[in-house]
């Protein structure tokens, strides 16, 4: 199989807020193979939690739907994709601004995207009104420096 990634997983779950813990713990368990530091794990877990919460609270607005989570690893880089088929975001640039929230009555802080952007290396948001939203994030695990593993990967023709 021709795959540019070293490892990959995918889960789908109902948009229930008690699945937020399930989602971030699953990702933490999956990326453990890169020997991340506790800080790196915490950063990724927080970013995943924010994206999944957005899908549940804003995308589906308490209605039931499916949240998809894909996590891939290439060398020391983690790629995470969280998507929903919810209502979508009208203006992504405005939604990403710190403290912007459409649900201040629910005590939402409006810090979700800000946290994702500061805890991950790269965050991309694609959204279509009425169709849904996809958040793609990447982060390099800096602590990962296993030469043997890097060598094994490069001999698989990925360089």
């Amino acid at each position: 199989m021709n795959n540019i990634f070293d490892n990959e997983m995918k889960i789908e779950f109902l948009s229930k807020s008690n699945n937020e813990a399930f989602a971030r713990i699953s990702v933490a368990a999956f990326i453990a193979q890169l020997d991340p530091t506790l800080e790196e794990i915490a950063d990724i877990k927080t970013a995943v939690s924010e994206a999944v919460t957005n899908s549940i609270i804003h995308g589906y607005e308490e209605k039931m739907g499916i949240v998809k989570l894909i996590c891939k690893i290439r060398k020391n880089e983690v790629f995470i994709e969280i998507s929903d088929s919810g209502k979508g975001i009208e203006n992504v640039e405005i939604a990403k601004q710190p403290l912007y929230t459409t649900k201040s009555n629910l005590e939402r802080s409006g810090m979700g995207f800000t946290i994702m952007e500061s805890f991950m290396d790269h965050v991309q948001v694609e959204s279509v009104l009425g169709l849904g939203t996809k958040v793609s994030m990447t982060k390099k695990i800096k602590s990962y420096c296993n030469e043997e593993k890097d060598f094994a990967m490069s001999t698989r023709g990925e360089e």
């Binding site: 927080t46 919460t53 802080s109 409006g110 946290i115």
Partner: protein
């Protein structure tokens, strides 16, 4: 979640024993507000000793309790925050309105 209330200095300490996300914040909020409204404390302290994870739902939770305690002339403080959670506090500027305090070990022992 455990809580202790000291009458003499009107101080309410909450020890939260779980991860704080949107799901748990709703439960915590309900219990907290009951006790804050009942005691009308001058000081509300959140003990984060047993909290290993918090996302932005925690920011909303704390700001909401800050507003509520203010209605009764009380202030809100936090104690024992871990490194990953401190990052969220610093990034959001939360420590400017909800300062960090040290609480004695004795006080941290709950009934």
């Amino acid at each position: 979640m455990e809580s202790t209330y000291k009458k003499e200095d009107k101080r309410l300490i909450f020890k939260i024993n779980e991860d704080i996300d949107e799901y748990s914040a709703q439960k915590i909020r309900r219990r907290l507000d009951n006790e804050i409204e009942r005691y009308m404390p001058k000081e509300v302290i959140f003990d984060f000793d047993k909290v290993s994870f918090m996302d932005s739902a925690g920011i909303g939770l704390l700001i909401g309790r800050y507003k509520l305690a203010n209605l009764f002339g009380g202030k809100v403080e936090v104690a024992n925050i871990s490194t990953p959670i401190r990052k969220i506090f610093e990034m959001s500027g939360l420590l400017k309105i909800i300062p960090e305090v040290e609480i004695e070990k004795k006080e941290a022992q709950y009934e």
